[in-house]
């Protein structure tokens, strides 16, 4: 099928071709910059901490540990085991504190409360504190991401 007239002028076609390809080349130049802007700070896959620091905890008490750049909390349960939480509020990422008298976690930013098992009980937090898997290996506590 032969068209009676050309859809574009030669000039327009060349301009578009050049413009489009320049854009693609530009994208190729910009892609390393875009990758560079976000550094790869990932959470650690696991954290190992000496058991001795946590062995003598009383049940229902909580002690902190470092989970990468975030605070972590280890809680001694009644049967002598441990559960671990990431101590970051699920509302807007503030660090939470453990209020020992009430056996609850408190987020000061918007007055959010979690019970001693991390379940969100009052205030704006939409979800419980994130759990981490704890295991004892020799004289070290290994804390890993759950699931």
């Amino acid at each position: 099928m032969k068209l009676p007239y050309s859809l574009f002028s030669r000039r327009a076609f060349l301009n578009s071709l050049i413009g489009g390809w320049l854009a693609a080349l530009g994208a190729a130049f910009i892609s390393p910059l875009v990758k560079y802007i976000v550094p790869p700070t990932r959470e650690p896959d696991q954290v190992s901490t000496p058991l001795a620091d946590f062995k003598d905890m009383a049940p229902h008490t909580v002690k902190g540990f470092a989970w990468g750049n975030k605070p972590g909390f280890l809680k001694k349960t009644e049967d002598g085991g441990f559960i671990a939480f990431v101590g970051v509020c699920t509302h807007l990422d503030c660090n939470v504190a453990f209020v020992a008298e009430q056996r609850r976690f408190y987020c000061a930013c918007h007055e959010g409360w979690y019970d001693e098992n991390g379940l969100n009980v009052a205030g704006p937090p939409p979800a419980p504190l994130r759990r981490l898997a704890v295991s004892v290996e020799g004289d070290a506590l290994i804390i890993k991401k759950q699931g």
Binding site: I18, W21, S31, P40
Partner: protein, 108 residues
Amino acid sequence: MTRRRRWFSILTALAIVPCLFAAALAAWGQDAPTVPVEQAAIKSPVQQAEPAPRPPRERMAVYVLLAWVWFSIVALLGFLRLRIREADRVFHMGLDRAAEKKPKESRP
């Protein structure tokens, strides 16, 4: 140029860009895994530490980028040559100056 032709040319150009961009992104794949800091080997007082050995995926991606860059440059030089010849032709024929004169004369 008529509006229809202009829209056609814009859409064509826009259609090409995402395809090429997607191809570029595919070459990147996932993040480069974190690399341990290179220990500087101080043999003599002025010994430079090499940039750390780069992971193979990243190395591949960088060479793909380089190939794409040069391929694009060659292609663009070709198109630019055509466009420059077009512009020179128009200039030597005096067409742009004629185009300037006509609308000016046709104004009341």
